[in-house]
Point group: C2
Chain length 469, copies 2
């Protein structure tokens, strides 16, 4: 017991030294870094002890909810974002008009399969962009495939069948985004691939490594297929996928049925929401930080991408709260339509070009609100060494992974030889448990994890602002 007490007192003593609280003393390489580390410590203090992002996220997700492009909720979210920016007294706040795809799910989908006389209900959702089935639904035998490549091998055998793409996440990949990348072609391109062979429909295993009963939606594309070759496409849960695959092994001629009434309406008007702090030294050069305001129409779009939205708003608020006047003009951009068209990202980049705006850097948060791991880098190769030199400033806060890689869909159209593009990397382990499903809800977000990400992003924007011209 005494040793236990000693251990407790030791821990208490260690803590009273605040040895885990990175301070200006932890970084000693130069005066600049000394100053940078002090500013960064201030950002973390503000984000962790006086954060606003979590309550903003509660408001966005619980009072508005999901917000697919073209929906009334997406419109409400635009007004919400504008109002938050104005309440925080950013120097300028405006809406950038765009036209967005307007796909609607219609009535809730149904599906089942019948193996001999046993009917098994299946958790299903239409893929975004899919056509409907007839009002009676589609009923057919099933061909299970594990890759798009197999489509050509099967060829005419697919005629009159429902094609079931069932390649699972590879659980041995450490970063779950890479497991996603290894499967998502089935969702995106499955219906296009089978179209010319006379299949009647496509069902795809949900894009998650979790074995549960949530179907995960996401976008798909028919590309230039003629209308008569466009077959309905849907995702089924991983549990249902396993059950169907097992049943097909017992009875390859079982029948699967699904019904959906989704459709694509004419493009609808919408907006990117933009707030700016004016630069003191380079007011005509811009650094953008953003996430996307739209979400899929299941769950409430908390991790995808409510967290990126509130973190981006927080970056500008925390600059102000810490009396940091940026050298460049810093913009928080709440992009519309990342999920099914990227019209917001494209319009923002096109407008920048039209207006001869010089964008020196852009940061996107669209990988969930989990505990920080690092930042990805995709842009001007001359700046990589500078970017990597900041690692030591943020490693005391748990950011160790500074990697070359994809920075973000929304900021992608800004890419040029001169811009620095970077993406916030949170821990990826839980993200695809939620992504694009009814399971992506506010209660899955931890306030501290969210706000550590906020402070990390604020710090990187500060470093970009300080060290780029």
């Amino acid at each position: 017991m005494k040793k236990l007490l000693l251990a407790i007192i030791t821990i208490a003593t260690i803590s009273s030294c605040q040895c885990n609280k990175p301070s200006k003393n932890t970084i000693q390489s130069s005066n600049t870094h000394l100053q940078d580390s002090t500013v960064i410590r201030g950002f973390f203090d503000t984000a962790l002890s006086d954060g606003k992002g979590y309550e903003w996220l509660r408001d966005l997700t619980q009072n508005i909810g999901h917000r697919l492009s073209g929906s009334p909720q997406a419109e409400q979210a635009v007004r919400w974002g504008e109002q938050v920016m104005k309440s925080q007294e950013f120097d300028s706040v405006w809406l950038q008009p765009i036209m967005v795809p307007h796909w609607v799910r219609g009535t809730k989908e149904t599906a089942y399969f019948v193996d001999k006389n046993t009917k098994t209900n299946v958790a299903i959702c239409a893929l975004g962009g899919s056509v409907a089935t007839s009002t009676k639904g589609v009923t057919a035998e099933v061909i299970e495939l594990n890759s798009i490549k197999q489509v050509a091998e099967y060829g005419e055998k697919l005629k009159g069948k429902i094609v079931f793409f069932n390649r699972p996440f590879d659980p041995t990949l450490i970063n779950t985004f890479h497991a996603y990348g290894g499967c998502v072609d089935q969702r995106w391109a499955g219906a296009h691939a089978v179209g010319t062979y006379g299949a009647l429909g496509v069902i795809v295993r949900s894009m998650t490594g979790s074995i549960d009963d949530f179907p995960h939606t996401g976008s798909m594309g028919y590309q230039k297929l003629p209308l008569e070759q466009r077959v309905p496409a849907a995702a089924i849960s991983t549990k249902a996928s396993n059950a169907l695959s097992a049943a097909l092994k017992r009875n390859p001629s079982l029948k699967f049925h699904f019904q959906q009434s989704c459709k694509t309406l004419p493009d609808a008007p919408s907006f990117n929401v933009i707030g700016e702090l004016k630069g003191s030294e380079f007011p005509d050069k811009y650094i953008t930080v953003g996430g996307h305001l739209d979400s899929w129409d299941l769950g409430d779009g908390a991790h995808d991408d409510g967290t990126g939205v509130v973190q981006s708003l927080e970056v500008l608020r925390i600059f102000k709260a810490n009396n940091i006047k940026p050298r460049h003009s810093i913009r928080a951009v709440l992009f519309m339509n990342e999920e099914n068209g990227n019209r917001g990202g494209k319009r923002y980049a096109a407008a920048a070009k039209e207006n001869n705006e010089i964008h020196v850097a852009a940061l996107e948060s669209d990988a969930g609100g989990h505990t920080p791991r690092g930042f990805s880098y995709d842009g001007n190769v001359d700046k990589i060494a500078l970017f990597k030199s900041w690692k030591k400033l943020l490693s005391p806060y748990g950011l160790h992974e500074w990697e070359k890689g994809h920075a973000g869909v929304d900021i992608g159209p800004l890419k040029s030889d001169s811009i620095v593009l970077t993406g916030y990397i949170p821990d990826s382990q839980r993200y695809f448990d939620y992504h694009h499903s009814a399971n992506d809800t506010f209660d899955k977000v931890n306030e501290r994890e969210l706000q550590l990400g906020t402070a990390s992003m604020t710090s990187l924007i500060y470093l970009l602002d300080q060290h780029l011209d």
Copy 2:
């Protein structure tokens, strides 16, 4: 849309290269490391694609539940651990007898405060080791303090009062264990400190940074106070703490009431549960990996420390599944009584001494089952450089923090000049949301996060076995 497709295909292509799957090619510094990295990759593959720990944890937490030392559930957990070890055909499995403290909570505690005519109910739980109130409870005015130091300043003013220790977690500390260390003296030593001044009871703010209505228990000690100076001590939720503190500002003479019937029974017989794989080269030298089987009696002890228990069991199973014959004898030890006495840890070390066993290393997992961050090191200083050299082998799996620090309560008594002691460090952000409360339940554990920790621990035990004599 085309660019989106391109991005998706790019991600898919990257993934098909498995660039995120660390392989033997990622480590090229030496042949030894080449071999180590291949073995480690195999451990991660097994843990992530064929893990057993999560289902073991479900069984332990949902079919047995919480398991405080001396309770029937603790006894069941001993039999459960023995049975799992035998089912995995470890070379030897045995129980090591100990006597443990046997404290029981009794009927559910109640508490409220009355501010003028308004009664506010308070979420409360007795601290482990506390005495009961009288059957009528304690009712008294409250003195709110923020530190043990203040006790002497207040002195006789505490007579007849309930002392309320309300120093909160410091949210700006990045590692939440350090915020815990900065507060836990209030819980451990509060009742001892006030005992000589005639206070009637102690209530303490729960040890968490989360603002919610879960009271968090934990051990406290009266040390050598005479029986008549031992006052009842309890934790109240952080929400209740904030409400009480606010009410005291309005009305310093409000009355607080609480009632609890906990008591300490005579010590009870129990066991450490030990399983061993015999060493091929040094069968008489030991490496221990462990967690603690006991838990507090709220929730089901999932993160504290069911996860450490199943991870330790998994280490030996994964060695066998990968046909790795250890050079040293490797033991999984499920320690009893970490929470309120550390009798298991002390007995294990004493028995090792009595039997002249040479322990070359010990690893403990008792910080939750969250995503991996690294390992702490506390032991033979000559080996620190070797220990740190392994960082590059595990950084591809997200382990970047290799730090000097506390390794674990259970393995602490093994400390000597020659042993390497190390502690598994998972991400700390969510841990104290659950710790010692009814909120520490199986559903808070993510399977991938748990199993990444399992594989990390298996890898470190392998490296210790390979590179120590």
